[in-house]
Amino acid sequence: MRNFYLIFKKELKSYFASPIAYVVITMFLILTGYFFYNSFALFSTISFQATVNPMLAKQVGLLNLTESVVRPLFGNISVILLLMVPLLTMRLFSEEKKSGTIELLLTYPVTDMQVLLGKFLSCMAVFAIMIVLTALYPVLLIVFGQPETGPILTGYIGLFFVGASFVSLGIFASSLTENQIIAATVAFGLLLLFWMISFSASLAGQTFGDILSYISITTHFEGFAKGVVDTEDIVYYLLFITLFLFLTLRILESKKWRG
C-alpha cells in the first residue's frame, strides 16, 4: 500500500515538474471552452430569436439547456479526451524504458501491480483535475439558466469511466514500446477504432452488428450524457479498464520469460 502511494506521488510530481500536465490541461480547457461557448452562444441567440418569432420557436421545437448545451458539451469533451489522454499516458512506461530507469524501479522491492496501479492512478489524478476544471461550464449554466442537474452529474460519472478506460488503454500502449510517439499513436489509433467501430454495425449482420455496437465506447457513453446510468454500461467500462490493466501487467511480466 505504501509502495503504491510512493509511486503515485512520484509520478504525480513528475507530471507537474515537466510542462506536460500544464500544456495538456491548458489545451484541453481551451478546446472544451471553445465548444461550450459555441453551443451556449448559439442556444442563447436562438432562444432570443424564438421569443420574438413564434414561427421559429415552432420550428426548433423543444428548446432546453440540457438538450442543446449539456449533452453536446459532454459529447465534445469525450472526443477531446480521446485526443488528449494518449498524451498523458504515453510517457508512463515508455520513458522509463528509454531512459533505463525501469531497471532501477523493477529492482526495488515493489510488485509489478504496485507500479502499475501507482502509475494508473497518478494519471487518473491529472485527468480528474482536467475534468474538475470543466465544472466551470455547468456552473455558468446554473448561474445564467436552469439546467437539470441530474444529467450533468451522470455526464460527469460517464466522463470518469470513459477517461479511466482511455487511461488504461494508453498505459497498455505505453508498456509496449520505449518510443513515446509510438505509444501515443497506438493509443490514439486503438481508441479511435473503439470509438468508431459501431459505425459499421449497420453493415454487419444482426448478431455481429450487435457485438460491434456493444464493444464501441461511444454507445455506452450516450446513456450517461442523457442522464441514464445503466449498470450494463458501467460493467462495460469496468471490463474495459480491467482488461487493459491486466494486459499491461502481462507485458511487464513478459520480461521474465522473453529471451
Binding site: R2, L6, T101, K256
Partner: protein
C-alpha cells in the same frame, strides 16, 4: 553472502551466459572483470532479480533470486550501468522516494536521506533537479539511492565509467569506505580499478568464468618468473654477454628504443623461483658501465587479462 551456481542465459539464440559459478563472502569486495559483452551486466541483472536466468541457481543473502525476489531486492543496493535516474525530480525527493520504497520506516526516511546525502557529498545539490546535475553528481546520486536503506549487498555496474580522473578517485574512495560491513560486487573493464579496490577478482569472458583469485595471486600465477628492466650505458654486445652470464638468468632481450649510441634497455628474466635482484648491479658497476635504471617489471592486470583471454 552471494552464491551463484551454473547460471546460463539465452537472449533468443544468443548464449550470453554459459554456466557462471562463483561466490562472494560476507564483507568482501569482488571485482567482476571482463571485456564488453562478456556477460557482466547480465549476471548482475540476474542477481538483482531484474530478469531470471535461463537455468542455474543464484542466492543473495540467503534468498533465491527466482523464488523470493522481493526479499532479495530488500537487501541489495543496485547501481546499473550509466546510472539511469529520473530527471524531473529533485535529489532529495528522489532519495526520499527510494528510501520509502526500499522499506525504510516512515519516521526514519528523513534521517536516512540526510545521512546518505552527507556520505555521498550531495547536500549542496539536495534541491536541484537530477537532470541538471553533472555526470559525477549523478553517479553519486545513484550510489546514494543504493545505500539509502543500508543494504547488506551492493551491486555496482561499471561505477566509474564516463567520469573524469578526479571523480574516479572520489568514487573509488567512496566505495572503499563502504567496504567492511557490506558485501560489494563491482563490475568493470578497467583493470587498475580492480587492483585498487577489490580483494578478489572474477574474470569472465564470453559468458564463462576463466579465473577467480586475488589480484596478487593472479599476477604471480600467470607471470611465473620475475623480470627486471635494466637501462645501461655501455657496448651492447658485451652488456648482453655479461648479463647472460649472471647466475640464475634465463633470458636477456634488448628493447631497442635508443638506437646504438651506447644507452640500451634490457629485459632480464630469471629462471623460475630464482632471485637475481642482488646480482645484477655489481656486475655492471664492476665493468665500469653506467647503470641508469634498474626496476622490477611486474605484469600488470592488463597483461594477465590479455593472456587469460587469449589463452581461451
Amino acid at each position: 553472502m552471494i552464491e551463484v551456481e551454473g547460471l546460463t542465459k539465452y537472449y533468443g539464440n544468443y548464449h550470453a551466459l554459459k554456466g557462471v559459478t562463483f561466490s562472494v563472502a560476507k564483507g568482501e569486495i569482488l571485482g567482476f572483470l571482463g571485456p564488453n559483452g562478456a556477460g557482466k551486466t547480465t549476471t548482475m541483472r540476474i542477481l538483482t532479480c531484474f530478469f531470471p536466468a535461463t537455468s542455474g541457481k543464484a542466492r543473495v543473502a540467503g534468498f533465491d533470486v527466482f523464488e523470493e525476489p522481493l526479499e532479495v531486492r530488500k537487501r541489495i543496493g543496485y547501481v546499473p550501468e550509466n546510472v539511469p535516474l529520473y530527471k524531473d525530480i529533485t535529489v532529495e525527493d528522489y532519495l526520499e522516494f527510494a528510501a520509502g520504497i526500499k522499506g525504510v520506516g516512515r519516521r526514519d526516511v528523513k534521517n536516512a536521506v540526510t545521512k546518505v546525502m552527507d556520505e555521498c557529498v550531495l547536500t549542496d545539490v539536495a534541491y536541484k533537479f537530477i537532470g541538471e546535475l553533472s555526470k559525477g553528481y549523478r553517479q553519486r546520486v545513484g550510489l546514494a539511492q543504493a545505500l539509502v536503506n543500508d543494504p547488506e549487498v551492493l551491486i555496482l555496474d561499471e561505477p566509474t565509467i564516463g567520469l573524469d580522473p578526479r571523480q574516479i578517485i572520489e568514487i573509488r574512495k567512496l566505495i572503499r569506505n563502504l567496504a567492511g560491513r557490506r558485501t560489494i560486487i563491482l563490475s568493470t573493464h578497467i583493470l587498475p580499478e580492480v587492483s585498487m579496490t577489490c580483494q578478489r577478482v572474477v574474470i569472465i569472458n564470453e559468458g564463462k568464468v576463466i579465473a577467480v583469485d586475488t589480484p596478487q595471486n593472479l599476477t604471480a600465477k600467470v607471470q611465473g618468473a620475475s623480470r627486471f628492466l635494466v637501462k645501461i650505458d655501455g657496448p651492447s654486445q658485451d652488456v648482453m654477454k655479461e648479463l647472460r652470464a649472471i647466475n640464475g638468468v634465463e633470458r636477456v632481450t634488448r628493447r631497442d628504443e635508443y638506437g646504438n649510441n651506447g644507452v640500451g634497455e634490457y629485459v632480464v628474466e630469471a629462471i623460475k623461483d630464482r632471485d637475481i635482484k642482488r646480482n645484477i648491479a655489481p656486475v655492471i658497476v664492476n665493468k665500469g658501465w653506467a647503470l641508469l635504471e634498474l626496476r622490477p617489471q611486474e605484469m600488470s592486470l592488463e597483461d594477465i587479462f590479455v593472456k587469460l583471454v587469449t589463452k581461451e
